[in-house]
């Protein structure tokens, strides 16, 4: 990969400082194109070979009133010359496109951090709108605390586009590309990718494409020529494992996992779903890939979505439904039917802040108990959770494996942080993907020469999948309790007790890999256990405390039901077990109940991922307590 930057020219006349990692946060109004700006910088960093992790943060309203605090949208990006685990706790650089963005984000910028502001938006009116009595840029405490760069981005952009014939308003709109150009210059980023991207994105409006490219270059040249930036920075490519990488978000990786599950099983995929933030992108993505034999059905509600998916599974397809917490609540009864009819089904829940409508665009892990127990009766459902954006691919394939082998609904618990966050993904070799082929029943299976739909595989306890259209195997299934074996309706008390236990035993017996403990020193007496998207912050916190000379072990659960077989033994090996969660202690509750372990639950529900620094403090405290 070439490290040339710009249009062949390296920044000149500035001091170049080498850094191992940088966190940049672009913040502006929701209409300012901050997500696109962040995305592009991410692609530049990826193309350059850095490791990276990103976290967008946007309001629930599509266009909250302009210039207001609720309307602030931001995109944080962490890139480094080594493998990193999180999008970063705090930005090193904050780009604030207006007063609201400054106000909403400045407290996260550490002392001495770089602040780049678009001064054009700092009018009296805009300042009052967000409650600034005086212009903060005139305030010495700001300039003394941070390295402040005041740039009239809108004015400069309009100036750069003067000769394009574009109206002022249209020209002004390209100021986010000016910001991107400036930052690209500061961090020696390759730029051809962005120019190519802009030309493709606006292929139908060549004048807009050109304007954006010009604005991008103007930003670059501004850095290069004005001398107001004395230092530029270099972050070398990361030494990642060998292979081909791409950048991917959690929702895309999850959708690809579903496509791959369809290909690897040889089954058509039917997605029945209803739009809901932050899960809708899975529908959007899958509906682009119909040529893989994927049918996407936008139903009238979540109940119909999961119903259609189950109906398709009954017909021999791989039925999938995708939703977020409120939708999962609606699907409960149908998932119960899938438990009873023992058909494969994947239910994707991209968790968001709850209860009720809660915080639609923010993240949370508070649907674990809903996934585990949110149905009537004893209704065991396997639960699988991805730990990072790219891990969604493997998690989706794993959910498909369990659903198909064990003929059961499977809950896949992603969350908002994973769904919208992105990171590099070591693209797997298609030849190495697991084989998920299934065999449908074709012959009578019972001693009496008839077909018993509930005669099980002795090993997996899965029942045969006999799809309509198979001669001689006509049978009826449904939600009523059925007699073991024949599947006929049965109200017999002993049979019900037997069947309840049998369904539980089937799920308990699902083969899942042992949980792996990360304890480099082998001397840890404290274990931190997490699940889902907290993998990054927990892992980063563990690294930090180890650097301080305190050993700590980290175990991260992909399988929440059933738990890995070695989990009990792992928990007992340590003096203390800490369980950080973005809920009020749901995994801790399960671990305590099942393993009688006195787990310390550390919880936070602010709609945002944990910061590595706070978990570092939590872990250090516990470790000190143990060694005292």
């Amino acid at each position: 990969m070439s490290t040339d930057v710009g249009n062949g020219a390296a920044p000149s006349g500035t001091e170049v400082r080498k850094l191992d990692r940088v966190v940049i946060r672009f913040a502006g109004d929701s209409g300012d194109g901050m997500q696109l700006t962040g995305d592009r910088f991410t692609s530049e960093a990826a193309a350059f070979g850095n490791d990276l992790a990103t976290q967008p943060n946007f309001p629930a309203e599509i266009r909250a009133p302009q210039g207001t605090l609720p309307g602030v949208s931001s995109f944080q990006l962490h890139f480094a010359d080594y493998d990193i685990l999180t999008p970063g706790d705090r930005p090193d650089v904050l780009v604030a496109m207006n007063p609201a963005a400054l106000k909403a984000n400045i407290d996260d910028l550490p002392k001495g951090g770089i602040l780049i502001v678009n001064t054009d938006e700092f009018s009296k009116r805009n300042l009052t709108k967000v409650g600034y009595a005086a212009d903060p840029l005139e305030d010495h405490s700001l300039t003394e605390t941070y390295q402040v760069h005041k740039v009239a981005m809108a004015t400069l952009t309009i100036g750069a586009l003067e000769n394009t014939g574009l109206g002022k308003k249209d020209a002004e709109r390209a100021k986010n590309m000016f910001a991107l150009g400036l930052l690209s210059w500061m961090y020696h980023r390759p730029t051809e990718g962005t120019e190519r991207f802009l030309r493709e994105k606006f292929a139908k409006k060549p004048d807009i494409a050109e304007a954006n490219v010009l604005a991008f270059r103007a930003g670059w040249n501004y850095g290069e020529t004005t001398e107001s930036f004395a230092v530029t920075y270099e972050v070398a490519p990361a030494k990642l494992n060998q292979g081909t990488y791409r950048q991917i978000t959690g929702n895309t990786a999850l959708a690809y996992g579903i496509v791959a599950a369809g290909q690897q099983s040889g089954l058509p995929v039917v997605l029945g779903t209803y739009p809901i933030t932050p899960a809708s992108d899975i529908l959007h993505e899958l509906s682009k890939h119909k040529h893989f034999g994927i049918t996407t059905l936008q139903a009238e509600d979540e109940i119909a979505g999961v119903g259609a998916a189950l109906g398709a599974s009954y017909g021999g397809a791989l039925g999938i439904t995708s939703t977020s917490g409120p939708g999962l609540a609606l699907k409960s009864e149908t998932i119960g039917l899938a438990v009873m009819t023992e058909l494969p089904l994947i239910i994707i829940d991209v968790q968001r802040g709850g209860p009720s409508t809660g915080l639609p665009t923010k993240t949370e892990q508070a649907d674990l108990l809903q996934a585990m127990y949110g149905r009537n009766g004893e209704s065991p459902v396997p639960v699988v959770a991805p730990q990072s954006p790219s891990d969604c691919f493997d998690a989706a394939m794993e959910a498909a494996r369990i659903a198909l082998v064990y003929r059961t609904p499977v809950l896949l618990l992603s969350d908002g942080a994973i769904a919208n966050g992105s990171e590099p993904w070591l693209i797997p070799d298609v030849e190495d993907l697991p084989d998920l082929t299934v065999t449908f029943a074709t012959e009578p299976n019972a001693p009496d020469g008839t077909f018993w739909p509930y005669l099980r595989d002795p090993e997996t306890l899965a029942r045969p999948w006999a799809v309509p259209g198979t001669a001689g195997l006509q049978h009826r299934i449904g939600g009523l309790e059925k007699a073991d074996g024949t599947g006929n309706i049965s109200y017999d008390p002993a049979n019900h007790d037997h069947m309840v236990r049998l369904r539980q035993r089937k799920v308990d017996g699902i083969e899942v890999p042992d949980v792996v403990v990360d304890d480099p020193s082998g001397e840890a007496r404290v274990l931190v256990v997490g699940w889902g998207s907290s993998y990054g912050p927990i892992g980063a916190a563990a690294r930090r405390v180890r650097k301080l000379g305190m050993p700590v072990a980290h175990a991260h659960l992909r399988h929440l039901n059933p738990f890995p077989k070695n989990l009990g033994e792992v928990l007992r090996r340590y003096d203390r077990v800490v369980v950080p969660e973005m809920n009020l202690g749901q995994l801790a509750l399960l671990l305590r109940a099942k393993y009688l372990v006195d787990a310390i639950s550390y919880t936070k529900v602010q709609g945002l991922p944990f910061k590595a620094e706070e978990l570092q403090d939590v872990l250090a405290d516990v470790i000190k307590g143990v060694s005292e």
Binding site: T244, Y245, F292, D301, G307, A312, G315, Q474, R476
Partner: protein, 351 residues
């Protein structure tokens, strides 16, 4: 009538469903399960009618599926020696939609009740109808909740005294046929449980129709709403009340004594002798407005009850279109998983 008779492209409801090698009998469709409806329940009559009718379609039994919701009537699939799913309350149309989309080689039937289809499942019903999924929906309307022991339903008459409404119900009822037509169902029919011939004829047309077919069946519940349709079963009363419509034929009833005529924006009933033959409305099952007007002639008190096929018209079905989209995408682009996973922007880290 088939689509052909309407001069429309001949794409029957059963195209793609494999046919049986041998002639079938009604008993081939009886499962080994004991039928457990109350003695005298109208559901028996409908079950028998369906079991006698299906052999005439000559389809492979294993390619027929009955999907039901919850209610007395929804036990239906257990008694059929076909594939079947007794699902959950109100959701059968949704489940059947997924099945129909996934499997063009199946003849999929939904069995539902007035509570199942119009109360808890009302949303799924209207959306299934507007999408025109190739499903045959048999709505057993006994105007009561049978299985839960006799509460009023969305088709019960206003003021209905039941266990849950000792002072009389307050709800205004649905007219299921009007509702279905409002959702632009492409096929809507109605029959009375005891009228085997009429019911079979509606079923036949429904089966041949490609798309959603809603068949409302007036069904007696002798336990909780006995005699709800008795006036339609008394010969003399029936003659005065039942208006059976046939596509392309003038609408008369009562042995030809009465006729349906235009009245304002809708339809009315007149003595045939009082009107000129030209004024007698000829049924056109492709005319939505006429079908709807006919549905409004049927009153809750059964003063007049229209039976037969109100509407039968061709429109692309959702499942055909969904499959066509996938097929077109497949023809246009080879599935290349490695290509998809790589996308446009990759970088390589050397070892």
């Amino acid at each position: 009538m088939t689509a052909t008779e309407l001069g429309l492209p001949a794409l029957g409801g059963l195209v793609g469903v494999p046919t049986a090698d041998e002639p079938q009998k009604a008993k081939d469709y009886k499962s080994d399960q004991e039928v457990r409806w109350c003695p005298g329940c109208g559901d028996y009559v409908v079950l028998n009618a369906v079991q006698s009718f299906l052999p005439t379609l000559g389809l492979k039994r294993e390619n027929i599926v009955f999907v039901s919701g919850i209610g007395c009537s929804s036990r239906f699939p257990y008694y059929m020696n076909t594939y079947g799913m007794h699902s959950i309350h109100g959701r059968a149309p949704a489940i059947a939609t997924g099945l129909a989309v996934a499997r063009p080689d199946l003849s999929v039937w939904v069995v539902t009740g007035d509570g199942d289809a119009l109360s808890i499942g009302g949303n799924h019903l209207i959306h299934t109808l507007r999408r025109n999924v190739n499903l045959k929906i048999l709505l057993f309307n006994n105007r009561i909740y049978g299985l839960t022991k006799g509460q009023y339903s969305p088709t019960s008459e206003e003021g209905k005294v039941t266990k849950s409404t000792p002072l009389g119900s307050l709800d205004h009822p649905f007219n299921p046929v009007s509702l279905a037509l409002g959702a632009e169902a492409t096929f809507v029919g109605r029959a009375v449980d005891s009228d085997r011939v009429g019911l079979t004829e509606v079923l036949r047309q429904a089966a041949e129709h490609r798309g959603s077919a809603l068949v409302e069946i007036y069904q007696n519940c002798p336990i909780f709403n006995d005699g709800a349709f008795d006036v339609l079963k008394d010969e003399a009363e029936a003659a005065r009340r039942i208006i059976n419509v046939v596509h392309g034929q003038p609408i008369t009833f009562g042995g030809g004594d009465y006729a349906v005529v235009r009245e304002g924006f809708g339809l009315g009933v007149a003595k045939t002798a009082d009107v000129s033959p030209d004024d007698i409305v000829v049924h056109d099952a492709t005319d939505l407005n006429l079908s709807f007007a006919l549905s409004r002639l049927s009153t809750q008190d059964l003063q007049h009850t229209v039976t037969g096929v109100f509407r039968n018209t061709a429109r692309t079905t959702y499942d055909d279109a969904a499959r066509e989209q996938v097929e077109r995408a497949k023809a246009a682009k080879k599935p290349d998983l490695a290509g998809l996973l790589h996308g446009k922007d990759t970088w390589t880290v050397a070892g």
